[in-house]
Symmetry: C2
Subunit: 338 residues, 2 copies
């Protein structure tokens, strides 16, 4: 059996996550039992939610255990199978974690799914046609439920979720306005992703300035908002909401290191009769097929061409996550193994 | 025609509302035009939302105009009619404002409605069987949508909305926990209103203390919450939410004077996948008949016996509102005119 390099969570962060919270080890892959398959990972997924799971706090998922392989999405290829439903060469997406190989028992629901990489690049199954894409789809279609002509906004606009959000909202004839960090990301948002406008938060570092920029970008105010960040950007968005607007609470990355992240003006949710809803996409598996069908269609038709930030080799995974948490990525962050 | 004493909004408050923001005047009631009726008010309604309307700020309703009769709900009796659908002696509920008489054109939708005071006291149409009651009904049945056995909570537990909320939630076999100010209100909540427990916020003046008290009162945490206050009490409630809980944002009286009222832990709305929704009941008139039918049934059967705080005479209306804003009322606050 091949040697399997793995990244473990070595310790929980105190405040900011650091490289020494992770540890690279090697182990032998165990021999397959009946029903199991051996998957060689091509790409590891790196996602903002991972930072939350490094903490030992009450949240929607049990915390990532210390001393165990860092959990996360993977795409790869079956290289050995003792399961009739899979054979060597099958391309698969799963939750293999930060390691080069995983041994999977596909009987467990949701752990492995065959995918077709003839029209959709394999890595996209970790992004636009995977968990982040379905996340954008769920928030837009199930919570915001936009009407044509409405204005919808998203923070982390050029990330894996935001990129897909823009394509889905444009397909519904919305005005789509993003918030992203820096002129390069903002240009990419409007020139490549289909955003009608993009506000650079690095040029608008407080609520008043952000509010003024949003006023210009959203002349008819905001009907639906997809929140990935939290903090003063959300406060400014809330100042520009229309009556009966909807807020999707998907991520609050600005608070993942444990610093306080209050919402300044919650009374606006009352005066504007807002619906605000938090969700996690793994609780809505029944809707994944419908979402993935639309997302595949957008990719195949060329309407969704997401950008990827790729770091090379298993050892680079921790830095890829730490960089993502500092917005150093550009689009979907991946680790490429082969 | 009778002389009509009226309370006007004289000026907008700066910070706390004060008696000199109001002015008592007298005028003649004008002669009736065809189609109009003259109503003599028996009771004026005094409600927390009125404080918000004294400000000149963007909200769900246009601000109360300065120099005009202070707007609000009224119950009374038709004493003269030039409208075939009404005759002298009819008991009516309407939006007559803070004055002794009003001239009403009942053709306008929603301005006047005949009521039956043979089984329900007339004043209740401003409380449990009126706007506050429907407010509680809408929040509980349309937003919280509780299942039997769930724990639901309400702040301002003994007020007009909270009292009704408790009766409606008990009718749905929920555990109902209130938050109110002082031992007298808390005893009343559990002994008369049907609350299973009541937390005295005056004995728990910060988040940690309130959180500990709620932990004891809500051993299975909280599935639905009806918010009338805002501030640290809401923060503490949020620390005790279950996954997939629902928050009704009905009022944030703690911030009505303009002081900042942040929400400390909005990320909890994400980790617990909470739905939070603001609403105003006047936007849901289609549901009033259904709500009023249930509320009438609760009153007639004796399951809802709301308490009233009654101040006497039109001149007492401003102090009644200022007292309400300081929680000096006990149950529904009314001004009795005759």
């Amino acid at each position: 059996m091949p040697t399997n390099r793995q990244v473990l969570l070595a310790s929980r962060p105190e405040g900011q996550a650091k490289p020494d919270n992770f540890k690279l080890v090697s182990s032998e892959t165990p021999a397959l039992q009946d029903g199991q398959v051996l998957v060689r990972h091509h790409y590891l997924s790196v996602d903002p939610y991972m930072r939350g799971r490094m903490n030992d706090s009450r949240s929607y998922a049990a915390p990532q255990p210390v001393g165990e392989v860092f959990q996360g999405g993977t795409v790869g290829e079956v290289i050995e199978s003792r399961n009739d439903a899979y054979r060597a060469g099958d391309k698969v997406v799963g939750m293999g974690g930060w390691q080069e190989y995983s041994v999977v028992d596909p009987k467990q629901p949701g752990v492995l799914r065959k995918v077709d990489d003839s029209q959709v690049p394999l890595s996209y199954y970790l992004g636009a046609v995977g968990m982040p894409g379905v996340t954008a789809w769920y928030g837009l279609t199930q919570i915001i439920q936009p009407k044509a002509g409405e204005t919808v906004t998203a923070t982390a606009a050029t990330g894996a979720v935001g990129s897909t959000f823009a394509a889905l909202a444009k397909a519904r004839d919305c005005r789509v306005v993003g918030v992203a960090g820096g002129p390069e990301k903002c240009s990419y948002a409007t020139e490549e992703l289909g955003y009608d406008a993009c506000v650079d938060y690095k040029a608008h570092g407080d609520v008043a300035s952000m509010n003024a920029a949003l006023k210009q970008a959203c002349p008819d105010r905001i009907d639906g908002h997809f929140e990935n960040v939290g903090g003063y950007i959300l406060d400014a968005i809330m100042l520009r909401l229309n009556a009966h607007s909807r807020i999707v609470l998907c991520g609050m990355i600005a608070g993942y290191d444990g610093q306080p992240l209050p919402m300044a003006y919650p009374a606006l949710l009352l005066t504007n009769r807002v619906k605000l809803q938090g969700f996690i996409v793994s609780e809505h598996m029944d809707l994944w097929p419908k979402a993935l069908a639309e997302l595949t269609g957008l990719v195949v038709s060329g309407k969704l061409r997401p950008r990827e930030s790729i770091s090379e080799g298993i050892a680079s995974a921790p830095e890829a996550l730490l960089g993502l948490l500092k917005s150093r990525n550009f689009g979907k962050q991946l680790v490429k193994l082969i």
